[in-house]
Every structure is written in structure tokens, then in C-alpha cells.
């Protein structure tokens, strides 16, 4: 495959996604069919529905098929499929409540409630490397398995949770 230096834009008319069990398939208007596709957000933190890179996981380097500029403009059926696939690919629980944070031997043990359920996770107690400050009120913490947990809006948490987060993340 020859490398191209231009972004190939996939327009809403060009793409048709479908689901074959757990595979997200893609048919382009020129008839090209992909039995599996991988969707990646170019800006996972900052852009909601924009700039989705559609890739072919059956190639060695997961070659890019093209970029969807805004999946909000896709047909409803396609949009739902894309949303679902992104939800699956990006497993980033959003913290809605912090029950407790314990500090012990260089690790922080978090007990939290997230949009994906209640859970506990362990984070290395090194704020420089494992906490990402997206904005003054939005944070991402990364646990020892490199799983990310997002605090979308610190101010939206209850005061107990806020206090714990501020104390532990030194903000």
C-alpha cells in the first residue's frame, strides 16, 4: 500500500456502518467492504463528535481508511453504531462520587462510583505522572493498569468527594 500524505475525508454519504456480531463493518460508497474497523478519536479529551479516525485492524499497522470529520452528521443508524463502538473502545469510567481514598506505601486506593458501576482502583502516588489536568475542573487519573478515570467536572461532585480529590491530587 502506498502511503498518502493527504487526509482522506469520509463524508456521511460515503460510509455505511453495520454490525456483524462484535465486528463493526464498513461499506464505502465505491463498494469497498471492511469486515472489521477500528474507530479512534483524534482528540479524545477535547472534541466530542469530531475527527474520528477510521482504521483497518486487519493490516499490520492498522492503516487509516479515512477520517470522519463529525460523526454527528452521519445518518442516525450510523451515528448510533459509531457511538457504541467508541463507547466500547474507550473504557474511561467517569467518576461521579468518591467514597474514600486511602494512601498507603506510595499508592492511593480509590473507592469510587462511576457511570459504569462502583469500583476500586489503585494508583501510584505520583501526581506528576499519573494525573492529567485537562482544565482547572477536569481531571483524568490513571491507575496502575493504565486505565483512565475521568472527573469531568470537579465542581459537580459533592463536597466530600471534592475535598478528597483536592487533598489527594494537591489542587
Amino acid at each position: 500500500m502506498t502511503a498518502s500524505y493527504e487526509i482522506r475525508e469520509l463524508t456521511p454519504f460515503e460510509v455505511r456502518f453495520a454490525k456483524n456480531r462484535d465486528n463493526l463493518t464498513l461499506t464505502l460508497s465505491d463498494g469497498t467492504f471492511y469486515g472489521r474497523t477500528e474507530l479512534r478519536r483524534c482528540f479524545p479529551m477535547s472534541e466530542g463528535t469530531q475527527f474520528i479516525s477510521v482504521r483497518d485492524p486487519n493490516t499490520d499497522d492498522h492503516d487509516e481508511i479515512g477520517v470522519i470529520m463529525d460523526y454527528g452528521l452521519l445518518s442516525e443508524a450510523d451515528r448510533e453504531l459509531v457511538e457504541e463502538a467508541l463507547e466500547l473502545f474507550y473504557f474511561v469510567p467517569k467518576i461521579t462520587q468518591v467514597r474514600s481514598v486511602k494512601e498507603e506505601f506510595g499508592f492511593l486506593y480509590w473507592q469510587v462510583l462511576t457511570d459504569k458501576g462502583e469500583l476500586e482502583f489503585v494508583m501510584r502516588d505520583s501526581i506528576m505522572s499519573y494525573v492529567r489536568e485537562v482544565s482547572a475542573t477536569r481531571y483524568v487519573v490513571i491507575d496502575i493498569n493504565k486505565t483512565r478515570y475521568e472527573i469531568p467536572d470537579l465542581l459537580a461532585l459533592d463536597s466530600h468527594s471534592q475535598g478528597l480529590v483536592r487533598r489527594m491530587l494537591c489542587i
Binding site: D22, R36, E104, N145
Partner: protein, 755 residues
């Protein structure tokens, strides 16, 4: 979970882990719980939320069953014969297992990051089973997990083997004591001296009591007064001497002990396999060897102090109660208050200290980035932005300092109140006793004196458990490092002073992470004296091949043989003597050029050093330097250009005269002229040796006997350069790509020369 034998209890054990609804689902699909060979649970539901999905394998079939509150549903069922491959893919925060069923890819489930290893092992098993047949061993998917050797919980720190909860303090202490045994005498003496100091400290109030009761109140003799005062003076003087003696001893033992510890650690670390250094980042190792041992020393003296405080507290309690049991109890009343105040203090202050420390680090990091990137800042005219950033960090730091000081200023008065309250109780109760004639004034004053010495150490003891934990954790960390196994060496190595240099890669597979192979089933035979060029895109596995040949890592499967001897059966000395490496980024150690040239041969003769340098095209530039071969080069080779460093490292290889030579992109980071000089040097060097050259610039491989094109860990193409070019395959493509590029480059250089 190994099920090599098909005994009932073994399989029953496997089925036991699976919940009943899932087993029932399996049975309705015609499977049997007793035939299961491997099961693994994913913690994610099909919709990506937390849930449960079970992967079940028996001899013939692959199942995925999802489980929810409503029951269990079959999601996938395949005959194993239809599965020709399997692999895992990393998503964000989770991973997926993809099978190749009837040559079509099929994603079957997602799992959270925590289970990556388990599902990786399963994918590897399915892959091996498909490629090598049904006899492949079923993996024990939990064996590899990095778990605490005591409680089995997953370990958080990959470089230790015991989780912090399970550290057995007594054992750590026992081991530390055995390491400290050469200093046994000094330690005993220190303990005795500590007891002495405590005893001396306890005496003055007692003498004061006599002073008041027998001299001041009852109008005693001037002589007794003088003696008592002289006694107090003497005690103080003796105390000074004893304290100095004790300090000298503690410092001496502490520093010597930590120095010995460091030496021991370094001695051990140098024998660890390269693999370990990849696993444990350099920074963390540095911390362990240098900072942690320093901290250990600090903690040793802190714990000595704590020991002294404990003795003081016990001693004072004994004296207080023997003087007046009832007053003793009153004196103890504020104790809980003092302890509580101290505890709260440390609890309140810790986050503030933490915040201050963090603010400082952020501040430093920002400044560091700015200073090292100052050219970029200026080039893009972003000074204003950086100034604002700096100010923000500075403010944050200032705030954190203010917070610490404010918190301190609030808590200090409270703590001193708690301390003082005890004295007031004694003044009141003791005063009444004095007035009632139950105790003397001297006893009361002595009592107050003792109390004043009592609460301080008591409050500091509340923080001992913190230092103790830190101490044990650090010590355990150091022991973990000491216990890390050195690279296995053959018990009875096959000694071979001089090798011919024939190399065979026999079905070699390898992955830094065992489930993510970088080299796959690679076989290749290299004759003695052959020059082999290895090419391929970055990430194709070229450098890994070199790492394996140097035995920086051991192969996962297959074997590498030199002259028919398995690398693992050879002594490290023989390997190192016979294999010379010129790396892409040559590393020079702090020392003179001559020392660096003779790094592998400290006894090399001067003339040999010069000959080697000459052969490497390095003699001229070395001689032209003011200090010639005696020029000091810094760590990493500061002061020399990339090309010069490269030629020094080539000369180093020439001096060593190895049978096998490895050139790892030796000319990649230099300009064309330097490259030519290096190439000449290399042409000289490869004469009569087996050479494996990895090259970016394919032109440098023109005189190779054979070219090997690698792609994703496999050999894609192999043959004589001209034959490969004629074939117009992968090598031809690479050459084409590069020619287009080098034409630009030559053009640019010509222009540059013309100017």
C-alpha cells in the same frame, strides 16, 4: 489450572470457578462442565460496562457466555478447528480478543486492562494450538501474574515480590540485623549509651527535689547547696560527653552500614539481566540504590531517637509513680489529649506538606522545560506565555507555603495548650497535697520538671509508626532488589576460546512481553565470515535480533547456536569476547579516549590502541586534539561529535578482535562525508569476521553476501543483494524509497558545497 491429566478432580476444579447459570448454558449447547480445559472471566459486559463474560474452552470447542442478573447467554461458539489464529488488541482502558474464524476476523469480547495478561496467554495458546497442533500445553493463566508471594494479591510494584501489607516486620528487622552484624559491638554500645543518657536526664529533677526540700525550705547547709549545684553541673558535662560519643558512634555505624548496603546492591545489580533494567526504569533503580539507602540512614537515626524517647517515657513514668502514685495518675490525665493533638497535627499537616512538595516539583519541572527549550520559546515568540505560566506556578507554590505556615500557626498553640494543661492539673492537685502536708514542695517541683520532659517525647512517638513503616518498606525494597535473580548462567559452560563464527537461528520466537511476540518463528543460518545485511522498517525486530544474539535477552522459543553451541550453554565471558558490537548511539564512559578504546581490554598495549584507532579512521582526529589520546571525554561522550564517537566505538571493537561483529545502524546519525569515513573503517573491520549489519542506508550494504529483509518479526525476503533487486520485491521497494530520498539529500549537499 493445568489440565494435562484428565483426572476428574482437576476438571472439577476448573468448572468450580464458573457460576452455575453459565455452566447450565454450556450444557444446553451440548458441552460438559467436566470436559472444560480452560476458563477465564472477563469483567466487562458486551455493552462495555462492568459485567461478566466467560470464555470457556474444552477439547474441541470455544465458547463465550455472558452473564447478567437475568441469567446467562451464549454469545459465541466455535469449533476450535475453525480458529486459525487469535490475538489481543489494546484499546483505551480495555482490550479485545479477536479470533480468525474461517479466515475472517471476529472480535469476541472486551476485557479490562487488568486482565490483559490472562487473555494474552489465551490468545497465545489459541495461536500456538492452531499453528502447532493440539498438543500445545494449556497455559496456567494465573501463574505468570505478578502476585504477592504471601497473600497472592496482585503486586502493584513490578520490582517487588511481597506486597506492602505482607511485609513481615520482624523478618525485615532480623535480616537487617544480620546485615548489620559486623557492627554488633557498636550497636550494643550505642544502646548502653542511650540508657545512660536517659538516666542522666532523669537525675536533675531528683536533685532539685533535694535542693528545695533539704536546702531551701528547711534552711540546709551551704555545703550541701554547693555540692548539689556542682552535681548538676557535673551531670550536664557528663551528658555532653556521652551524647557526643553516642552521636559519633551512630553516625559512623549508620554511614558505614548504608555504604556497605550500597556496595552490596551495586555488586548485585551489575549481574542482573538486561531484562530487569527494562522492567525497572533507570530512575526508580537510581532511587533505590542511592536515595533509599540515604533515607535508610536518616531513618536509622530517627529510630534511635524514638528508642531513646520510649526509654525516657518509661523511665519518667516509673519515677513519677514511685514518687507519688496518686499524682502520677493525675499527670497521665492529659496524655490522651497530647497524643490526640499530635495525631491530628500529623494528619492535618501531611496533605499540606504534600501540596507544598507537589507545587515545588511542578514549579521546577516548568522551569526545567523552559530552560531546555528556550530556543523554541524565542523562535516562536512565546516569552509572554511562558512568563504567565511561570507566574501561575509561582503563585501556586507561594500559596502552598502559606498554607503550611498557616496550618502550623493554628496547631502549634493548640498543641502547647495540651502540653501545658497537664502542668496545671498537677499544680492544682499537687498544690493541695503540699498544703495538706502529703508531699513536699520539692516533690511537686520535681514532678513538674519530669512532666515537662514527658509530653514532648510522648507526642513525637505518635509519629513513630509512620517512620517505622517507611523504614520497613524501604528495607524490603532493597531486599527485593538483592533477591532479584541474576541471569541464569550455565552450570557447566561449554568453553570455546576461539569460535569460527557460524550462527544458526533455529525457530526463534521472542517477545519482551511474552504475549506480544516481536520475533516470530525465525530461522536463519549464517556461515563463518559472511556479511549479512539486515534491513526493514523500524519495529520489524532488527534490534531485537541483536539483543538476542548478545544474550541481553533469552529467546522464548527455539534456540540460537554459535558453532553448534546453544548460547545458553556458553559462558558469558566467551560470548562477550567473541561478539563485538558497534551500536547506533555509541556510549563512551567518563575517562580518556585511550581508556575508552581499551574498555574491553584494559591491558591493551599503547601501540595496539593506536593501530585500532588508525584502522577505524579515528587516529587522525584524535591526534589533532590538544590532549590526543589523553583527552577526557564525558559521560555519553561529550566533546566528540557523533561521527567521532562512532569511530572510537569502532576502534574499540577492532581492538577486541571479535569473531562475530554486530553493526547496529552504525552510520545512521552522521553526514555523508563522515559516513564514508566510517564506512571505510567498517570495511576494514569486517574482514574475516562474521558480520551482521543493520543499516538504514542501504547503500552501505552493497558488499553484503546476503540481505535479510525483516517485517513484523519474520523474514520477508532473503538473498544476494543483486538477486533481490532483480526480483523487485520488498528490498527493491526499500531501495527505491531511499533512492528518491537520497537524491534530494545529495542535491542539497551539492548546493551546500557550492555555496
Amino acid at each position: 489450572m493445568k489440565a494435562e491429566s484428565k483426572e476428574n478432580d482437576d476438571t472439577a476444579l476448573i468448572a468450580e470457578q464458573v457460576p452455575t447459570p453459565v455452566l447450565r448454558c454450556l450444557e444446553t449447547e451440548g458441552g460438559s462442565p467436566f470436559r472444560l480445559t480452560l476458563v477465564c472471566k472477563s469483567d466487562l459486559a458486551p455493552n462495555g460496562e462492568f459485567g461478566e463474560q466467560w470464555l470457556l474452552l474444552d477439547e474441541e470447542t470455544f465458547y463465550v457466555v455472558s452473564r447478567s442478573v437475568d441469567g446467562a447467554d451464549l454469545r459465541y461458539k466455535y469449533d476450535l478447528a475453525r480458529i486459525s489464529d487469535a490475538h489481543i488488541e489494546r484499546c483505551v482502558g480495555n482490550g479485545l480478543l479477536s479470533l480468525t474464524v474461517d479466515d475472517e476476523p471476529q472480535v469476541v469480547l472486551h476485557f479490562s486492562n487488568e486482565l490483559g495478561k490472562e487473555f494474552g496467554a489465551i490468545a497465545q495458546y489459541l495461536h500456538m494450538r492452531a499453528s502447532e497442533g493440539v498438543d500445545v500445553d494449556i497455559p496456567d493463566i494465573h501463574a505468570d501474574a505478578n502476585r504477592c508471594i504471601y497473600c497472592g494479591r496482585p503486586l502493584l510494584d513490578s520490582t517487588s515480590r511481597v506486597c506492602p501489607r505482607c511485609i513481615q516486620k520482624s523478618q525485615v528487622f532480623k535480616r537487617l540485623m544480620s546485615l548489620a552484624s559486623p557492627h554488633r559491638g557498636a550497636i550494643v554500645l550505642i544502646t548502653v549509651l542511650l540508657l545512660g543518657i536517659v538516666a542522666i536526664d532523669l537525675t536533675p529533677p531528683y536533685l532539685q527535689r533535694i535542693l528545695i526540700d533539704q536546702v531551701l525550705v528547711q534552711g540546709g547547709s551551704y555545703k550541701l547547696l554547693l555540692w548539689l549545684v556542682l552535681g548538676l553541673l557535673g551531670l550536664r558535662m557528663v551528658r555532653v560527653g556521652v551524647v557526643i560519643w553516642k552521636n559519633r558512634l551512630t553516625i559512623g555505624v549508620g554511614s558505614r552500614f548504608t555504604a556497605e548496603m550500597r556496595e552490596k546492591l551495586f555488586d548485585h545489580v551489575k549481574d542482573l539481566p538486561v531484562e530487569y533494567f527494562e522492567k525497572a526504569q533507570t530512575g526508580r533503580l537510581m532511587t533505590r540504590i542511592n536515595t533509599d539507602t540515604d533515607e535508610l540512614q536518616g531513618l536509622i537515626s530517627e529510630l534511635t531517637m524514638a528508642l531513646m524517647r520510649i526509654m525516657t517515657v518509661i523511665g519518667i513514668s516509673v519515677v513519677l509513680f514511685s514518687m507519688s502514685p496518686s499524682l502520677g495518675w493525675y499527670g497521665l490525665i492529659p496524655t490522651p489529649l497530647v497524643m490526640l493533638a499530635a495525631y491530628l497535627y500529623y494528619r492535618r499537616m501531611r496533605p499540606h506538606f504534600r501540596r507544598r512538595w507537589m507545587a515545588r516539583r511542578r514549579f521546577n519541572a516548568m522551569l526545567n522545560t523552559f530552560l531546555s527549550g528556550v530556543r523554541v520559546v524565542k523562535a516562536f515568540g512565546q516569552e509572554q506565555l511562558e512568563e504567565r505560566r511561570y507566574k501561575a506556578h509561582n503563585d501556586a507554590y507561594l500559596n502552598s507555603i502559606l498554607q503550611v505556615d498557616l496550618a502550623w500557626s493554628r496547631f502549634f498553640p493548640i498543641a502547647s495548650f495540651a502540653f501545658g494543661a497537664g502542668g496545671l492539673i498537677i499544680w492544682y492537685v499537687g498544690g493541695r497535697s503540699v498544703m495538706a502536708g502529703q508531699i513536699t514542695v520539692g516533690t511537686l517541683i520535681a514532678f513538674l520538671g519530669y512532666l515537662g520532659m514527658f509530653y514532648g517525647p510522648l507526642s513525637e512517638l505518635t509519629n513513630v509508626s509512620q517512620s517505622l513503616n517507611r523504614f520497613v518498606t524501604i528495607a524490603q525494597g532493597l531486599f527485593d532488589l538483592l533477591d532479584e535473580e541474576a541471569q541464569p548462567q550455565p552450570v557447566r559452560p561449554v568453553r570455546r576460546e576461539l569460535l569460527n563464527g557460524g550462527i544458526v537461528f533455529d525457530n526463534v520466537s521472542f517477545g519482551y512481553d511474552p504475549y506480544n511476540p516481536v520475533i516470530r518463528d525465525l530461522s536463519m543460518k549464517i556461515e563463518p565470515g559472511e556479511l549479512i545485511g539486515v534491513v526493514g522498517h523500524s519495529g520489524a525486530g532488527k534490534s531485537t535480533l541483536i539483543n538476542l544474539l548478545c544474550r541481553f535477552y533469552d529467546v522464548t522459543n527455539g534456540s540460537i547456536r554459535i558453532d553448534g553451541i546453544d548460547l545458553r550453554d556458553m559462558s558469558m565471558d566467551d560470548i562477550r569476547r567473541n561478539i563485538g558490537v558497534v551500536l547506533q548511539q555509541p556510549y563512551l564512559f567518563a575517562g580518556t579516549v585511550a581508556e575508552n578504546l581499551a574498555y574491553g581490554m584494559p591491558n591493551a598495549k599503547r601501540i595496539d590502541i593506536i593501530r585500532a584507532a588508525k584502522a577505524a579512521n579515528a587516529h587522525d582526529f584524535i591526534t589533532m586534539m590538544p590532549e590526543g589520546y589523553d583527552t577526557m571525554v564525558g559521560e555519553g561522550g561529550g566533546g566528540l561529535s557523533g561521527g567521532e564517537r562512532q569511530r572510537v566505538s569502532i576502534a574499540r571493537a577492532i581492538l577486541n578482535d571479535p569473531r562475530i561483529l554486530i553493526l547496529d545502524e552504525a552510520t545512521s546519525s552522521v553526514d555523508t562525508k563522515t559516513e564514508r569515513q566510517i564506512q571505510e573503517a567498517l570495511d576494514h573491520l569486517v574482514q574475516g569476521r562474521t558480520t551482521i549489519a543493520i543499516a538504514h542506508r542501504l547503500s552501505t550494504l552493497s558488499n553484503a553476501n546476503r540481505i535479510v529483509v525483516m517485517n513484523h518479526g519474520r523474514i520477508e525476503e532473503e538473498g544476494e543483494p543483486q538477486a533481490l533487486l532483480d526480483k523487485k520485491g520488498a528490498f527493491y521497494d526499500l531501495v527505491q524509497l531511499q533512492n528518491r530520498f537520497s537524491r534530494y539529500q545529495e542535491h542539497a549537499e551539492l548546493l551546500g558545497a557550492a555555496k
